[in-house]
Symmetry: C2
Subunit: 316 residues, 2 copies
């Protein structure tokens, strides 16, 4: 496994790896890797000759009061996980290497970023769009892999790639969960045992909501209210947002629309704080008759031995 | 010469041309080509195996009261000029092909766009950054050629390429002028004979300013005032801006600084309206001791027979 810390090293290594028209699968991450990232690497491995992983905690996508400084890091463990999962090259740049001067250029995606984390984390997706553009230019991948846990990030990047004609296929991969349903996240390590136990309320409520959606008379507003009620039953949960939106446009459905008659895919997205730790989760609620371009709606449980297709578990 | 009107045609043609690691030189234009564009094509031809020209009048970079609808077009003449100057492939997309949906993504360069045309044409450089990003992704060139007549555009694109790590070398090419000094522009066709005669005041004043800059006690403010006075001597000239700035940062020099002692390159940039026709011109004023990364400060006169290096004329 090749490790590159500078853009120059990366360029040289990639020009060697690119020979004979080899395809490159790219997994951009902020490190502190878990089974969710491993699933991206494995899917990339299935579809490409060369797997590039980047690990970069991007300051541009953290707000002034966010957890940039305490964002968890463990380079040795990350490298071991990368190697175990067939990574060809790891790009581990410093902040100085990625931003040698104060950057004056931003890649800004509008509309798709108005709600959810875009509303509560102003500037976050400008930072994401900018750093992903930089990484795409540095790596020049054929395919790039993102987890559906950050569904809005996937929607933003798909919009950016389409609008700017990036020559890369964005592959959205299913959410990986703990056996009790908690979506894997590098931030889960912050949770106290009590918070960890309560945090299961996110995935449990998403599963229930998929049933509630089918009830007669259920509108977006009513569903959001029921979800908030269920989340508030967890004593330490402080709701940041609960939103039901069209996917991938992330625009609200008509207020009066009955959800069980809705012909487009919808996303139910949650952000909930436990103490200082903010967790997100979501579920794509497919229309009964599927007229959708959303792939990978299935979700994977991160228990041992579930790694072949026949054992995939649906979260719904 | 290959002509492509769709992204799909372009992609296919480029994948064939790219074989055997051929280098691609790219000249993005809005068409109505003149000797200035031809000089970019010829320089591209000297430095690359394959020359790609794009012709696209980009609506995104025109303001609501600007000349999008009356921007001059002449496809047959453009194709003839392209062929004469060794172009391999012309990309001629429709607006629908470049913007099949309303674009939600913008590439925005700050600071370098605060002044000059950025101040008087709000949104202009957002449109430029966005379309040039799209074209770079579609063409994936090794080198891209831009004329120094739009010096701010060159500075904006160099900043964008550096900030976003585009893998392309930006080549800034000298301004090409009519025998009397008028910088070539697609918009020159709008001028009445009387305006055309008066328009020579731009280049004449730039030449004079290079001498005034060396005078003792000359500051930016004093130079700008002298330039405005000289321009106003042309009866139909209405000044849009006259600015002396550092190049390529496009930030103002200290107000009290004597220009002849200034160690950085400076740009004197003008925008002047003759009736509804807005002309721009500029000149890079080098420090006496050259500590500069600005290339191609020489300017070329567009008279017949001046196309080899030994006959280059300096505009100063």
């Amino acid at each position: 496994m090749i490790i590159c810390r500078t853009r120059a090293e990366l360029k040289l290594a990639l020009s060697n790896l690119r020979e004979h028209n080899k395809s490159i699968g790219f997994v951009p991450t902020m490190g502190f890797l878990h089974e969710g990232h491993a699933s991206l690497l494995r899917q990339a491995k299935e579809e490409n000759d060369v797997i590039v992983l980047s690990i970069f905690v991007n300051p541009l996508q953290f707000g002034p009061n966010e957890d940039l400084d305490r964002y968890p890091r463990d380079e040795q463990r990350d490298l071991a996980l990368a190697e175990e999962n067939g990574t060809t090259l790891v790009f581990l740049p410093s902040v100085q290497e990625m931003y040698p001067q104060k950057p004056l250029t931003s890649v800004i995606v509008n509309q798709v970023t108005d709600r959810l984390c875009g509303a509560t984390r102003p500037g976050h997706f400008d930072g994401v769009g900018t750093v992903v553009s930089k990484l795409f230019h540095l790596v020049n991948p054929d395919r790039a892999y993102f987890g559906m846990k950050d569904a809005q990030q996937v929607a933003v990047i798909e919009q950016m790639v389409s609008d700017l004609n990036f020559d890369v296929k964005v592959v959205a991969c299913p959410i990986v969960r703990e056996p009790d349903g908690l979506a894997l996240s590098s931030r889960n390590v912050y949770l106290t045992p009590e918070q960890r136990e309560q945090a299961v309320v996110l995935s449990r409520t998403l599963r229930l909501a998929a049933e509630w959606k089918e009830e007669r008379g259920m509108t977006a507003e009513r569903l959001e209210a029921k979800v908030k009620e269920a989340l508030n039953a967890a004593g330490e949960a402080v709701i940041d947002y609960v939103e039901l939106l069209r996917y991938p446009s992330l625009q609200p459905p008509e207020a009066a629309a009955e959800l069980h008659t809705f012909a487009e895919p919808l996303i139910l997205a949650l952000a909930v704080k436990f103490g200082a730790t903010r967790l997100i989760d979501n579920h794509i609620l497919q229309a009964t008759e599927v007229h959708s371009n959303v792939q990978n709606d299935d979700e994977i449980q991160a228990s041992p031995g579930n790694r072949n297709g026949s054992e995939l578990e649906l979260c719904r």
